[in-house]
Symmetry: C6
Subunit: 274 residues, 6 copies
């Protein structure tokens, strides 16, 4: 259930790990076998770096998790990184660089990679590349110095006896492809939305937010709404689903009442937005 | 009536609150049930942050009020913020950053968010995002560093035990969508114009500016004007309506006379402009 | 007549007033009722700020005078400002900012508004916005920082008990509309060219530059020229008309002779240019 | 003849005058009545500034000489300025600003105008505006700060009791029109090429470079060449004509020989280039 | 076999050589006669510089290796450089310039060439020109100062008695052609992918990663996959092939099992990507 | 023959002359009468400056040599400059400005012209204008400040009693025309490729690189290749021809063998590239 999912986030030492753990606040709910596949694929990347076949094995591997907004990319990358138990794991995020100029950003990024090169085994999680490069569809505009630095660092061989795994995330696959950086990664890992009603039910149940009865009514309403609108996919990111559950709990019409109308409407609204 | 509406602005302590209150100089006139809906929706956002369901609830929520120019977006956001009675409420406005360079602006914005992170419960009102980012349709041009900073800060998790509500306003929804920042908000709240003749009459009456007779004549003229021009919507922002009322009062042709012609024409002119 | 028109410029005290008066060097010739309308509309704006209806009245009003080159926009705005007898009147012009960088310009503009906020009643005349923002149709290019600052300042509420009227002028209405700043003004006041032969005759007479006979001959020639070219409008700005009168006086063919041919041709040339 | 033309450049005192005189190294050859018209029109501008009709006369006048490359624009503007015998005459040329940044250029230009404002009567010759603003057709690119400064200075009223005439030159009329600065001038003066064979003959004779016989042969060849190519215009700038005459003199085939073939061909080549 | 290939990388002295050697970590596998051709062509360039025909022979030669991503361009350029046994060999790579501004980059590049000019015989390997110039297809954007510096340096004659060979690599031939730098090289050397099944088998065998049996099964699966998809080319870069081999070894399904399914799928996936 | 051609480069004194001489390393081979024409035309320019007709002669002349890559433009300009025996000759080349910013470049260029103005007779060779202005076809991009400085300096009159000849070279005529600088030169001198088989034979022979027999075979192969491909022009620059000759000498297949196959192919390849 929901709290078991949370338990999967094991206590860790060090600031960087804490920062990573904070990205899995909502736990990892195994609502679909695809989630296990993603974690397994991540595990394989980790193993490749951890246990090289030979001295001449490539000491660098890079993978990018892509998928729609709120689909859980950062949480999954953080999970893979934490579970690796590498001595150096680090989150590279635009949040730490607000107010930096282009050159400061590049210096900060470069610093993180230099730190990584000091540890025999490292993981750098490059979160939301589109935000790192200040991507904007109008123009389009973006920070070419930051992008160019990332392109180079993704391919830069670590020094002797150092091995590095790079995990990146993005919700702008097409844009990164235009920017010609998507292909720079060795692996591409797709992260899906919550798509079927079954998956959604799994999440609702794990969250433990509703009584059995409320949950069934909610699912029924959603099913009807989807039928009416000839939609086959739920198509909402896990983060949005979890957020909606919380709002629903706050809604006076739901809590302590049988009328979950507003709640259902809210889901509909969110689905329409997508 | 008009002064009751004004009374809704309760006295508040602190500079930031005063700044917010000054945005509701014209009070909040409940000329349509939609106004109540908007305030309720804002209230729900406040509650979500104020009373988290669990320790792991998302401590961050963001909503954007959008609508035509002068429709009352800033006033409504200020009202929601003031009524929250959060210990930290702050207006982030371009007016405080005239003459700042891009990097200074980002630093100022970052500072406001850092201050917010110090309070257990905070609201930041980001007023007129299009002005903050120096949006200009020619080019189009805008400040990409400021925009990128906003994008990051809207999603940045507050530190432990800090909860933050972000309320933004804009009259350039389409432009913000192009800029790919509109979807970054969890909620979208539409703010309408004064649209029906009934709503307009409500506002006129609340303002107490005209005698019963003058008001009826004005409404009649407007109705005729609209019929002549096959217009069905009044379609004027509340701020413009209130301003026009004041100009009408100044007009010697109206004050103390039965001839409110100019006044009616003025409305027409304003409606045509829209 | 011409010198009566000049007399309308009353002596004023203070440097700012002198600068404004220097813009009415050619006086205000009432060659058309539209000129009176413009001045009346300006007067109404002044009254709105001078005598607020209530404590909560909007303490800010803005109007923009637009029209063809040389049509007298600056002179009319200066006239309205001078006649207001407000304690603070100030001309904001690109001429005072030659050699300034963008940020210096913004600082200068901001300073003028800050000064205005110190006086209970103020008028700021923003002359030729297109020049202030370095507008150039190729590109198009313009100073986005200056423009963005103006946009913000036009809407910025003065502090408590301060009231401000903003008068702007431009000969580039369409361009300002593209720049999305034209709609930011509460009022739009059109300033026309000298358009009819009657109006032109009025100006010629007011100027006192020609003998009765010369004037009639000139008017006759112009009428014939217009007929020949199937033009119905004179369509020349008042400033150009007054300049041409002066050149005509210098022309040896006119002064002391009956042959005003060159003079007439000059008008024609100027009309064709338009 | 040629040396009489040179004599027209009277000795002058002061550095600025010397710089201006150096622009008339080839004298002013009156090869066409249009040349006299241009000088007369310039003279009229000078008079307007020198002898104002009244106290309120416009103390500022501006004229722009435009025409094809090498047509003599700078020489004619220099001639008008020198002949004015104003106490302050100054050439504003890109040659004095090589290696200046935009802001330095603007400062230099501004300085020259400030100096001009110190003299009761001044002429500023703005040579080759397109070079001053670094115009380049690709992009197109140009220095918007310099252009914007010029636009402002062309209209800036001199202080009390100061009168200023601005003479500008350009071979890029269309481009300046696109840049929206051409219309800023009060007068536009067209400078033509040497266009007819008669004009060309006049120049050849004035130059005294050829014997009567050589000259006739040259003219005959040119006539035949033009007939063969169905050209009706010579269409070469006076500066190119004078340069070609000098090269022709150097050519061993011409000097001391009857065979001016190469010489004729050279003219043809130059005409084709145009 | 695979380790013989590795042996080809002879021990070398000096830091620069070590850096170059590290680019041949995977050895040079002679999987196709084209590889020998490339090395021979490189050898010819070396000889041209090493043994000039005469004193007046051109002391500068430049060649560019181009081909798809991961096809082995850098390794081959490094091999040619190392085998030259020139006293000065140097790798110029974007990796050493992360965080440099444009001007710093140019200074760094210039420094390397200046160092090269000090040695009688030198090779500069310019790796991945597209990364050096921060090429980005959107815009497109790139560092024009760096590009311009490279263009000049590629043609700059070394000082007297100094001879220089420039070897460059790129996977963006078309882009460099657009940038007008591709033609600046004297020689163009194409580097192919691993294209035929035979070549792939050669690489698999050289790697010694699989048992005879596993290898045959893998090849069989790939052949079937290609037949099914009507593909005739393998079309994968040597670096990707070697990387896939390593991942395959890590995969528990392959190691110690007969089921190499996942492994085969991985190849397919990689082929589809291309 | 080849060594006679080299002999034409006379020993000269001074650093600048040495730099210029180094550009004629391959001598000047008179493979076509056009080469003599070019040198004669250059000579005429020199004479015009050296022996002015009168005091008022234009003390400035400029010519530009244009033609395909490697066609010998720089060598020919250097030859003309050296043969002038002017006290000041200077090569202005991008090679001396690697790593300079735009303003440093302009300062350097300006310095060279200032130095030239100190000598009574000077030649400045502006080599490869397209490289000086960092021309790049994408965008297109170029250094407008450098270009603008060149435009001004090409027309700037030297001070009294100073005479200056400017020789420029470019392989980007069309681009310079777009940049509007090509027409700024008084003369345009076309430099051709080696175009006919006869010319090519002349060069081969002059080079003395092949035995009579090898040369005939090479020419025969080239003729056949051209016939097969219906090419009528050789169309290769003299520099490429001389380089190919050297490579051919190095090629083991040619040296000491009858099989010049590779050699011939190499020519073909080079021709195809063009
Ligand atoms: N199976 C799951 N996969 C990913 N996240 C999950 C899963 N189950 C629960 N979560 C929770 O859902 C949230 C996912 O949010 P996260 O920030 O990772 O999404 P995201 O795709 O990175 O969003 P964005 O597009 O904004 O970057 C986290 O709080 C995480 O703990
Ligand atoms: N129902 C209402 N909603 C909003 N504002 C109201 C309402 N009734 C009265 N007002 C008054 O109308 C004015 C609304 O102006 P406000 O600046 O908020 O508009 P805005 O939409 O933010 O305009 P802008 O597009 O210029 O930002 C305020 O003075 C407010 O006090
Ligand atoms: N009725 C009038 N309206 C305006 N100006 C008048 C009038 N009568 C006379 N004038 C004189 O005409 C001149 C108008 O010039 P002004 O600079 O105001 O024109 P403008 O429209 O601002 O020109 P620009 O387009 O160049 O800014 C002034 O000298 C003014 O004194
Ligand atoms: N009638 C004339 N008008 C102008 N210049 C003349 C005339 N007769 C002789 N000249 C001589 O011709 C030359 C004209 O050159 P000038 O530099 O003025 O041409 P320009 O049009 O300014 O050229 P550019 O287009 O390069 O600026 C001068 O040397 C001048 O002395
Ligand atoms: N025949 C070969 N040619 C080139 N490289 C080979 C060959 N055989 C094995 N290798 C190995 O393959 C790898 C080629 O990688 P390399 O970095 O040179 O490719 P690349 O084309 O430069 O890639 P990128 O496009 O990323 O620059 C090296 O590790 C090299 O040792
Ligand atoms: N007739 C000739 N004309 C020019 N150069 C010749 C001639 N004969 C031999 N050469 C030699 O050919 C070479 C010409 O190279 P040069 O650098 O001048 O060509 P370029 O056209 O300037 O090339 P680029 O387009 O790269 O600038 C020189 O080494 C020169 O000595
Ligand atoms: Mg994320
Ligand atoms: Mg607002
Ligand atoms: Mg004006
Ligand atoms: Mg000129
Ligand atoms: Mg490589
Ligand atoms: Mg050259």
């Amino acid at each position: 259930d929901f709290f078991n999912a949370l338990d999967e986030v094991k206590p860790l030492f060090g600031v960087a790990e804490e920062e990573l753990s904070s990205r899995i606040r909502g736990g990892i709910i195994h609502y679909s076998p695809l989630i296990d596949n993603i974690l397994a694929e991540g595990q394989l990347c980790v193993t490749k770096i951890k246990q090289p076949v030979s001295e001449n094995s490539n000491p660098l591997h890079s993978a990018i998790l892509f998928g729609p907004r709120s689909s859980g990319k950062t949480a999954l990358a953080a999970k893979i990184a934490i579970d690796s138990e590498f001595p150096f794991v680090k989150l590279l995020t635009a949040e730490d660089m607000v107010g930096f100029g282009d050159m400061q950003k590049v210096a900060h990024i470069d610093k993180i990679f230099r730190d990584a090169y000091k540890s025999p085994l490292s993981i750098v999680v490059i979160d939301s590349i589109e935000l790192l490069v200040d991507w904007n569809p109008i123009g389009p505009r973006f920070s070419n110095p930051v992008l160019a630095a990332l392109k180079v660092l993704i391919h830069k061989q670590p020094p002797k006896n150092r091995r590095l795994l790079i995990l990146a995330t993005t919700s702008k696959r097409t844009e990164l492809q235009q920017l010609d950086i998507f292909e720079d990664f060795d692996d591409e890992i797709a992260v899906p939305n919550v798509n079927t009603q079954q998956e959604l039910a799994h999440v609702l149940q794990s969250s433990g937010a509703f009584s059995e009865q409320d949950q069934q009514r909610t699912m029924y309403e959603i099913a009807r709404y989807m039928a009416d609108n000839r939609r086959t996919d739920v198509g909402v990111g896990i983060k949005k689903v979890l957020d909606s559950i919380e709002i629903a709990r706050k809604d006076p019409d739901v809590a302590g009442s049988d009328d979950s109308q507003w709640n259902g409407l809210s889901y509909k609204a969110r689905m329409q937005e997508t």
